[in-house]
């Protein structure tokens, strides 16, 4: 029997140190490359900015968002203000249905007197409300609905999807069958039914609360999104988690004593975050579109609050005389949805090269 413990070191390499000259400090400093570590996120942003279409879309989105946020701050007209109605005076019908850059009767008098009046860029609607500020407000509402609805979808979908994927077995089976049931319902029908039912029931329930100011219709919209649209998100995340939880680093974490919530938070979600960001970005235009569609049908926001869909719907009445009132909100919706979609595609290419076709 040989002693193998001594033989174990036989694998080491022997180098003649006399053949080498010690490096000077300068040479050492030259060899140490302290480049900052490139993270996944930074790499993705770099790839995203190289994509011209996505960058332009991002700029368009930023411009639309910022203008919808800040223009109402300094615009002299309010979205609900009927310019022809002054307290204590008879209704001035000359303010209704002004063409772009036209002025009402009293305004013309004031201009003649040398005063400067802010123009009605898109004219006014049939009630004498400045149309430009209504479009800006409508954009704000549509963007807000799209954004928050996507956040709601994200939170619900992520929670349910990650639980379903991580637990597996019977839990997964039950959740996925519920998802299948919701998936198989005709969603537009459900949206319309839910929106009209919730509009009635929520009205009384919300009376006197802070939520009343937002409007029952918007809240019912959020509920509709929360109830119906989380399913595809949860499916997506479940699939991600299912493949990630078989990775050895998850096993290593379990071997170190990690519990389920730790593994989901530290390992599974960070690794599926790119898919989550991408599908959320693609969810926003979807939500905006649905909101516009519901508002067009009269199930959207409460009057006098405008949204792009309700503006388009109102414009239907005078379509032949005032076609621009239909065209303007339609263009804005298309611009938002198109640029968000293109940006979402860019995000996908930058952050998840595997999904690219």
């Amino acid at each position: 029997m040989k002693d193998f413990k001594d033989l174990r070191k036989a694998f080491s390499m022997h180098v003649d140190l006399d053949a080498f000259i010690p490096a000077t400090d300068e040479e050492k400093a030259y060899m140490v490359q302290m480049r900052p570590s490139s993270t996944f996120f930074r790499d993705g942003v770099k790839r995203l900015l190289k994509n011209k279409v996505a960058t332009v879309s991002l700029i368009v989105i930023i411009i639309i968002t910022l203008s919808s946020l800040f223009i109402p701050l300094f615009w002299p007209y309010e979205f609900g203000e009927q310019l022809g109605i002054q307290p204590g005076k008879p209704v001035d019908s000359s303010y209704g249905n002004l063409a772009p850059f036209e002025y009402g009767k009293t305004e013309q008098e004031r201009i003649a007197a040398g005063e400067k009046i802010f123009p009605h860029i898109f004219g006014t609607d049939e009630r004498g409300r400045d149309y430009f500020i209504r479009v800006v407000y409508g954009t704000r509402i549509s963007l807000a609905v799209g954004f928050f609805a996507s956040i709601i979808v994200l939170i619900i979908g992520m929670t349910i999807g990650s639980i379903s994927g991580y637990c597996g077995g019977a839990v997964d089976l039950v959740i996925m069958r519920i998802v299948d049931i919701i998936y198989s319902l005709p969603d537009m029908l459900m949206v319309i039914l839910l929106a009209s039912v919730l509009k009635k029931t929520l009205g009384t329930a919300l009376e006197g609360t802070a939520l009343e100011r937002i409007g029952t219709n918007i809240i019912s919209l959020f509920i509709v999104f929360g109830v119906l649209y989380w399913v595809s998100m949860s499916r997506l995340i479940r699939g991600q988690i299912l493949s990630l939880r078989e990775q050895e680093y998850v096993l290593a974490s379990r071997a170190a004593g990690a519990k389920g919530s730790w593994i989901i938070r530290k390992h599974l979600l960070p690794n599926s975050i790119s898919v989550v960001i991408i599908s959320t970005a693609l969810q926003i235009p979807n939500a905006i579109f649905t909101e516009s569609f519901l508002s067009f049908l009269g199930l959207g926001v409460n009057a006098p609050m405008p949204s792009l869909g309700s503006l388009a719907s109102d414009a239907l009445n005078g379509l032949s005389s005032y076609p621009y009132r239909m065209i303007i909100p339609a263009i804005v919706i298309s611009l938002i949805v198109l640029s968000l979609n293109l940006f979402g595609d860019g995000l996908r290419d930058a952050f998840d090269p595997k999904l690219r076709n």
Partner: protein, 330 residues
């Protein structure tokens, strides 16, 4: 043999009749147990390295994972440091004292975490530090121990080579100062020169920290080099267990003999003199394991008695265990 073997009484890990079955779906709503590990018993002494060899799919990795209770064993008992592992609290305690080094250095490190977070994860889970400085200090100490540069701490795993990644994995395993490490083919994904470095590091760490290893591998030469004793598995069962040199020079079980004859010899004269024992057929599926001795379908010495019962795993020489019916006849 080395000093570790003489200390017979100090057993760190004692595995008794460990069984690990997985239910496999065969057809609709029908399951069948897959006997990945079937009634395996052995013990590992403190400071010792037990090598575990066998073909792919014979249950080596499953044994390692079942000992750590990463799978809940179907039956049997694991006694760690004198305490049987039964309740969840026992398992929690085990997690601090026994860890694992994984085979694939690519998939065992989270690509979204920095090296310091990967190494520090066990510390974070067990809250084994008082403040941030203590955590960083411990992480840098661990990195130094496995030969990683401290300036790598903020890098991501994909920026490293295979050998360096395996060092990160080892540093993570050492974070809680464990007594026992299951090394699940830790070098088989590395190329030969890196294998040597990593194995030498395992030996050095063992000497420094008085570690005990269960070293799983399919490379007999690597296992012989690092192990004090070697266990051979076949189809979920242990067929032979003996001192490393003895099992290498005088294998008793027909499967071990064939395995040892397949080890390449550097000296062509020796290689010519050795007769290679070639087994016929393939390893049977563990779903339809043969009755009696699992090896009988491929054994050159199989007799009718082999089909009847599983041979007992008995000590034929001091410290040399074999499971074979016909040991005296062949």
């Amino acid at each position: 043999m080395s000093e570790h073997i003489e200390k017979n009484g100090d057993i760190l890990v004692d595995v008794r009749h460990l069984k690990q079955y997985f239910n496999i779906n065969v057809g609709w709503l029908k399951t069948k147990p897959l006997k990945a590990v079937d009634d395996v018993s052995f013990s590992i002494r403190r400071g010792e390295t037990l090598g575990l060899v066998g073909e792919s799919g014979c249950g080596k990795t499953t044994v390692g994972r079942s000992i750590l209770h990463l799978y809940q064993p179907t039956a049997g008992e694991v006694i760690f440091n004198g305490h049987p592992i039964k309740s969840k609290a026992d398992i929690r305690e085990l997690r601090e004292k026994a860890t694992m080094v994984f085979q694939d250095p690519y998939s065992s490190l989270n690509p979204r975490m920095t090296v310091s977070d990967i190494i520090g994860e066990p510390l974070d889970i067990h809250k084994a530090y008082k403040n941030k400085e203590e955590r960083l200090h411990r992480i840098l100490e661990l990195m130094d121990q496995v030969g990683l540069n401290s300036e790598h701490a903020s890098r991501y795993a994909h920026e490293f080579s295979g050998g360096q990644r395996q060092r990160i994995g080892i540093a993570r395993a050492l974070a809680l100062k464990p007594d026992f490490i299951v090394c699940d083919e830790p070098v088989s994904a590395l190329d030969v020169s890196i294998q040597a470095q990593v194995i030498n590091m395992f030996v050095e760490l063992q000497e420094q920290m008085n570690l005990t290893y269960l070293f799983i591998a399919h490379d007999i030469l690597v296992v012989r080099h690092i192990s004090d004793r070697i266990a051979v598995m076949y189809l979920g069962k242990m067929v032979e267990l003996a001192d490393a040199a003895e099992i290498y020079d005088q294998p008793l079980h027909p499967y071990t003999r064939s395995l040892m004859s397949a080890v390449p010899q550097p000296d062509p004269k020796v290689a010519k003199a050795n007769k290679r024992i070639v087994l016929s057929g393939d390893i049977p599926s563990p779903l339809n394991a043969p009755s009696g001795c699992p090896f009988r379908t491929r054994c050159p010495n199989a007799a009718p008695c082999c089909a009847e019962a599983m041979p007992e795993f008995k000590e034929v020489k001091p410290g040399h265990f074999v499971a074979c019916h016909r040991l005296n006849e062949i």
